[in-house]
Amino acid sequence: MTSEAENIEQTPSPLVAALQREHPEWIAEVIIAFGETTIVVPREHIVAACSFLKTWPEGRFDFLADICGADRGVEEEPRFEVNYHLFSTTKYHRLRLKVVLNEEDTHVASVTGVWRTANWHERETFDLFGVIFDGHPDLRRILLPDDWQGHALRKDFPLRGYEPYSLK
């Protein structure tokens, strides 16, 4: 016996189905868990997908809620992922886009041209994970000091940091 909640979790939304019909090349994988939909987008299509989703009449994702990075672990391949949390203020639905990156090539195109708020989110992701956003107008550190070495939320960054302040 399946409950209603499980049915919701396992059924791809009409939105994703429509997107899959229109642009199947943008969708590498669809993950549905806990009632949330995640689409893994190939890296080269992320800007096109974002700008399409922003103006698409069925989506209208006019609000970029967050960009965050994740380090899956030093031995994992691909190691990094960048998550884009989209929200529509008119249709009131959410979508998560995910780009996975290899450790040797942590470049992804910037979406600052689509949502201007991506500027600081991308700076934060760069600061803490070392993901390079190509085409970003001002990719500087935002949280850590300007002369910081390394990226603090990577799994191989020592918890106590480097000198001069660490206790070894």
């Binding site: 070495q149 990577r154 940091g161 480097y162 000198e163 001069p164 302040y165 660490s166």
Partner: protein, 209 residues
């Protein structure tokens, strides 16, 4: 200010000891703290000035927003590494004579924040006169620290303190402005050169020796 330099050179030691007690009494009776609330300890610091605790009884209630008008820096809370150069600059902007109270576990030793982001003790940045334990310390403990500092002030002499020469003060901290890294530094596995944020000014060297 410049007056004690003149006094210390012009007067014999016997006279300055008598003068010390007068000057120290005046100093300890009106300690003006700099407003430097960093974290939750700042709430207790504010509370110390309220009617219930009344730090004014000890002449230290005039919190100044400008370091140029302050005698005591109460470091109330955790000092992040990004805040460390700012804290040192504010300390450098305070005129002599000046004292530092390290309030709470975080300012004193880093507290529970034993990680890359927090300076493990503000005494790595500025010389500290009084440490207060606690997380956070109660306002009574801050008042006690102020009273201990007053005792300490009474034991000082005008001969001990001189203004830091201008050029020496300027050396202290330049917040880093290195260009953007592309992440390659993290992969090289090399330790960066240590960049000390502090230099010991003349009176600090004399106090620590």
């Amino acid at each position: 200010m410049g007056l004690e330099n003149v006094i210390a050179e012009a007067l014999p030691e016997v006279l300055t000891t008598r003068l010390d007690s007068l000057i120290n009494w005046a100093r300890k009776s009106s300690l003006w703290p700099a407003t430097f609330g960093l974290a939750c300890c700042a709430i207790e610091m504010m509370n110390a000035t309220t009617s219930r605790n009344d730090l004014a009884r000890f002449g230290a209630e005039v919190f100044r927003a400008s370091p140029r008008q302050a005698d005591v820096m109460i470091v109330s809370g955790r000092v992040s590494r990004k805040m460390a150069p700012v804290l040192r600059r504010i300390y450098d902007q305070m005129p002599e004579p000046k004292w530092v109270i390290s309030m709470g576990a975080c300012a004193t030793s880093g507290g529970v924040f034993d990680n890359y982001a927090i300076v493990q003790g503000v005494d790595k940045i500025v010389p500290v006169d009084v440490y207060i334990p606690g997380c956070p310390p109660r306002p009574e403990m801050l008042i006690h620290a102020v009273m201990m500092l007053q005792d300490k002030v009474m034991k000082e002499s005008v001969r001990d303190r001189r203004d830091i020469p201008e050029e020496e003060a300027r050396e202290a901290v330049v917040p880093g402005t290195l260009p953007v890294t592309d992440g390659s530094t993290a992969r090289q596995n090399t330790l960066p050169e240590s960049r000390p944020y502090t230099i010991a000014s003349r009176h600090e060297r004399r106090r620590s020796s």
